[in-house]
Amino acid sequence: MLIPCPQCGPRDIREFTCKGHETYMHRPSPAAPPEAWDDHLHNRDNPAGPTREMWHHVAGCGAWLVVERNTVTHAVTGAMLAREVAR
């Protein structure tokens, strides 16, 4: 698999580590109800098809990316800097 790092170009998957679904980016407010935190921490879908995940270019530029990929075809359809998505 190749991940198109916006800073480094297409790079081999072995340079990256995957944290999981992009849910990790959407941190509830400290005052959010326990259900919101439960969803944030524990509840994940297991999609067959497109998904958005957090990948860390740990053996590259160090950027955290939001990667769009298809779990069925393995096609990677995009990668954005988490820093820009979060803004």
């Binding site: 081999d12 944290k19 820093r83």
Partner: protein
């Protein structure tokens, strides 16, 4: 029999090797198989299950029969295909799977017992009693049914891993692949041409006439020489592409040095990872055997193999050669062979009544081979024509049942090949692998002109996909006739007819599987073991599928096909794991004090990839405990020095650096004055402790954080995530500097005295109070000084650029010794921190909360931080949780062990009564007994209670008292000074 001693047009040197200890002479360029055939050695091994005598079936990597063991000692390689292994002077080859000599295998009794050993024999026989499986059945079966064995010795010649990148990868250097490579190379693309065999040309030979003005058999080599001269082309012979992966990734195995005598710098194999923008699949086709009774004897081989041995190696594999063929292609091959020396007595048996001889050989049309004789090698065949049978003397029988396109690589991403009824072939599914374009015989195209055309077309498609506008040069003239053929999977006759030679699967086994309900291909495969040998059923899977289809009254396309998975040819783990043995697997991280530490005789222990001293033995000390006790007392009485460079060190800068730390840590850092350090606790977002350490403020916008040695990488990734994904609003930058700074802890009542002897400007407790920090100079070198303590004593950590680490460590230890102190190691460091109740990752192991370790008070109520919301969940604040306590034995001699479980003294020691567990233990020389940290239900509420510690693994039961986790200097006055 050898009829020509040239190799690629030149006279070849003779080469001597041994086969089962016997000296055999071949010639340069031979494979083990061709050299054995040249010496009329037909018996090469025994079959897997029935121990039938077996010979050489093919001339390529698909060989199911002729598996041998080559080499000795750690370089011994089992299950090597004799058809692939090239000979060199001194090569040692032995046959496999027999007890006693090869020609009198004691296990051959299995062949007589065959009525009892049919499909499913193992499943039916070795079911019970259950206890017999591991002790009796498995060793028995492993001994009886086996392949070659490794030596069990470590070491030996190395292998390599390597990476390559190209525009167009062409897989296979037959005429199709060469045409594709030429087309891509002429268009200026970077081309890799990978070929499994040691020479180019594939199956093309004299039977294929002319290609342009060259003999078809010479065209490939001539063009390959041209390709080699083009700078943007890389030709890789002896390189099998073994796997296809996502986004143009390919794995390939190169036999870099296996064909040469072993040498110190010669890798055996190279495991390649090739990244290609586009690829052309030109893997050709494998000739299809025919199932008939006794079709497995030595001397029976594929007709294409006979041609290869004759053309490439000058070897005639028999004196009376017959061929059982169902297609015109085989007739062309025989006609071409008949013109050569050594092939005067050729007979072709063809089931087609209208078959016509194409050359000077005897043709028996409308006939089938229905039996064979010859115990250790073929002697005679039985032919049935109409209602009559006749016997024919033959020591070699060629088989030609048509061609199976080598579609394997097109299936590696999950596509299934498609059955083409008209051509009776499985063809690659359209678009099976994006960017991989099948061409030629692997695509079902068998004529010479068709292969050239498709090779060029596939390359043009690849080039256009890359945005190039290539031109199509004129193709050379060649025959466009694929020839006709008839499908004959199995001859209707009595007796065992083999499909899978490697695993001894017969047509009867497949029919029996169908009868017993295993009608799915996948079930049949597992029940009979069809296709599960090292050759992965390359020559037999499709025949077996056809027999299954027939037995179940279905067509081949509705019966399905098996799944082809990587690797296409067996790959040694040694090659796949090249570079990852020993220190390649676990590299060493060494501190700057390493040499000085070794010079003092300290045994080293591993901490992750780091190496740290365990203890420093002094004169007269015979056990580690003696050294450890002395070092602990030394630090408490005078001064000790220990290298703490392995702790993670992260520089944090920016106007929001303080706010960033506030968000990372449970406690507040933005209020920390410059020149001070603070202990901090970091949680995961789920409310559990991630790590702890100190962060020091060197300037208003500059902090330096320390992490534990174990969690340095994890913390860095966590900080990156936090800064980029959660708090991009903060202006902060950070960098790991763990390896840039050497850092030493100087601990003990005399530590300030020692520091002042090396610092350019002496310090006092006003400038450097407890938890103070700042810039200093050591012997003129700018350094950082932190007054922090992990021992409970007055202590300083001094950090210098790593290049000064060795000198400073030696200097500090020497000066400590003058003061009655010295170096100390990890054992003493552990006892010192245990006496103080300081935690490590033995305690914060990922399942504990701040509440559990008694640090709930460090969770700031005034700000948000990672883990705050989750840490407040009621379940994580339950007093009944396992919480941190200290333990001491009621009897001072009592033994405490890490990992032991805790029970109420009155309860039976069963899992349901479990009260907690011990995490760290040590012998305290100051207290005179062992001490431990533990997690105990209701923990601190039970101080003063007695608990039973039980280590079932080591058989230890010790009554302990629950105490606070700080054993020594509870008020902390010694560190604060």
């Amino acid at each position: 029999m050898r009829v020509s001693s040239t190799w690629q047009g030149e006279s070849a040197a003779s080469v001597t090797f041994t086969f089962n200890g016997q000296r055999v002479t071949g010639r340069a360029g031979d494979t083990v198989a061709s050299a054995l055939l040249a010496n009329d050695i037909r018996l090469v091994g025994r079959s897997f299950k029935y121990h039938r005598p077996r010979g050489i079936l093919t001339a390529g990597s698909e060989e199911p029969n002729a598996l041998v063991t080559v080499g000795t000692g750690p370089d011994r390689m089992p299950n090597v295909r004799a058809t692939v292994q090239e000979i060199y002077q001194g090569l040692e080859v032995v046959s496999q799977n027999h007890i006693g000599p090869l020609h009198r295998d004691l296990m051959a009794v299995n062949d007589v017992l065959h009525p009892f050993l049919g499909a499913g024999f193992y499943y039916k026989t070795f079911m019970w009693p259950r206890s017999f499986w591991e002790r009796v059945y498995e060793p028995l079966i492993r001994r009886a049914a086996g392949l070659g064995a490794l030596s069990g010795e470590a070491g030996g010649a190395t292998s390599e891993k390597a990476y390559a990148f190209c525009d167009v990868l062409v897989i296979g250097a037959g005429i199709t692949g060469i045409m594709a490579a030429l087309t891509a190379a002429e268009a200026g693309a970077d081309v890799i041409l990978a070929e499994d065999a040691m020479v180019a040309g594939g199956q093309t030979g004299p039977q294929d006439g002319q290609i342009g003005d060259l003999a078809a058999g010479d065209w490939s080599q001539t063009r390959l020489d041209q390709l080699r001269a083009i700078p943007n082309v890389r030709v890789m012979l002896r390189t099998a592409v073994t796997g296809v992966y996502d986004d143009g990734s390919f794995a390939a195995l190169e036999r870099t040095g296996l064909h040469l005598p072993p040498g110190p710098d010669l890798p055996r194999e190279t495991f390649w990872r090739i990244r290609a923008k586009q690829a052309v699949l030109a893997t050709g086709a494998l000739e299809r055997p025919i199932a008939f009774p006794g079709n497995d004897r030595p001397g029976i081989m594929m007709t294409s193999a006979i041609a290869t041995y004759a053309e490439r190696f000058g070897v005639v594999p028999g004196r009376r050669i017959a061929v059982f063929a169902t297609c015109d292609h085989a007739h062309r091959t025989i006609a071409a062979l008949a013109r050569q020396q050594g092939f005067s007595k050729l007979t072709v048996i063809d089931p087609r009544p209208d078959a016509v001889a194409l050359g000077d050989y005897r043709l028996i049309a409308g006939a089938e081979v229905i039996g064979t004789r010859g115990r250790l090698g073929l002697r005679e065949i039985t032919i049935r024509k109409g209602g009559t049978e006749q016997r024919l003397e033959a020591d070699c029988l060629g088989l030609s049942g048509g061609w199976n396109p080598s579609v394997h690589l097109t299936c590696h991403l999950g596509a299934r090949p498609v059955w083409d009824e008209a051509r009776a072939m499985f063809l690659p599914a359209p678009g099976a692998v994006p960017g991989l374009h099948p061409a030629g015989a692997c695509n079902g195209t068998l004529s010479v002109a068709g292969c050239l055309r498709e090779g060029q077309a596939a390359a043009l498609t690849a080039l256009r996909a890359m945005g190039r506008k290539p031109r199509a040069p004129a193709l050379p003239d060649a025959s466009d006739d694929p020839g006709r053929g008839r499908t004959l999977w199995a001859v209707a006759a009595k007796g065992r007819a083999w499909l899978d030679f490697a695993n001894d699967v017969t047509t009867k086994d497949v029919k029996q599987a169908a009868q017993e309900g295993f009608t799915s291909v996948e079930h049949m495969k597992r029940y009979t073991t069809q296709g599960m040998a090292p050759d992965q059923g390359k020559s037999s899977n499709i025949g077996a599928l056809a027999i299954l289809a027939d037995a179940t009254g279905r067509t081949i396309s509705t019966t399905g096909t098996t799944t082809f998975r990587p690797p296409f040819v067996p790959v040694t783990l040694k090659a796949m794991g090249a570079g990852a043995e020993g220190k390649g697997f676990a590299p060493e991280r060494l501190t700057t004090s390493h040499a000085a530490t070794l010079a003092r005789g300290a045994p080293m222990i591993e901490a992750g990839l780091w190496y740290r001293p365990s203890y420093f033995p002094a004169k007269g000390e015979t056990t580690w405990q003696q050294s450890c006790d002395r070092e602990v007392r030394m630090v408490r009485a005078t001064v000790g020095v220990v290298d703490v460079s392995t702790l993670g060190k992260i520089e944090i800068m920016g106007q929001d650096a303080g706010a960033f730390l506030d968000f990372l840590y449970t406690n507040t850092f933005s209020t920390l004055p410059v020149g001070r350090a603070r202990y901090g606790l970091m949680l995961r977002e789920d409310g559990h402790v991630m790590d702890d350490g100190t962060s020091a403020r060197l300037a208003p916008e500059h902090f330096v954080m320390t992490t534990t040695t174990a969690a340095a990488g994890q913390v860095m990734a966590h900080m990156e995530f936090t800064a980029q994904a959660l708090r991009p609003d903060l202006d902060v930058r950070f960098l790991s500097v763990t390896e840039q700074w050497a850092q030493f802890s100087v601990a003990g009542p005399l530590s300030r005295e020692l520091m002042n002897s090396v610092l350019d400007d002496p310090i006092d407790d006003t400038a450097f109070p407890f938890m103070g920090c700042g810039a200093v100079k050591v012997h003129g070198i700018p350094a950082r000084l932190f007054r922090i303590s992990f021992s409970g004593e007055r202590a300083y950590e001094i950090a210098v650029p790593a290049r000064y680490g060795d000198a400073l460590y030696r200097d500090l230890v020497a000066r400590a010794e003058v003061l009655g102190g010295g170096a100390y190691g990890m054992e003493a460091l552990n006892v010192l921190r245990l006496e103080k109740g300081f935690i490590t990752h033995a305690e914060i192991h990922g399942r504990v909360t701040a509440f559990d370790i008694g640090m709930q008070g460090m969770l700031s109520g005034k700000k948000d931080f990672i883990g705050k919301a989750a840490a407040g969940r009621p379940g994580l604040l339950d007093p009944a949780r396992e919480r941190l306590v200290g333990l001491k034995p009621v009897d001072p001699d009592g033994v405490l062990t890490a990992g032991a479980r805790l029970f109420k003294p009155e309860d039976p020691p069963e899992a349901r009564n479990d009260q907690g567990y011990v995490t760290s233990v040590g012998q305290s020389p100051n207290l005179g007994h062992m001490i431990a940290l533990a997690f105990l239900r209701h923990g601190p509420e039970r101080e003063g209670h007695e608990i039973m510690m039980i280590d079932a693994l080591r058989g230890i039961r010790t009554k302990v008292e629950v105490v606070p986790p700080v054993f020594f200097d509870r008020e902390g006055g010694r560190a604060r000074g």
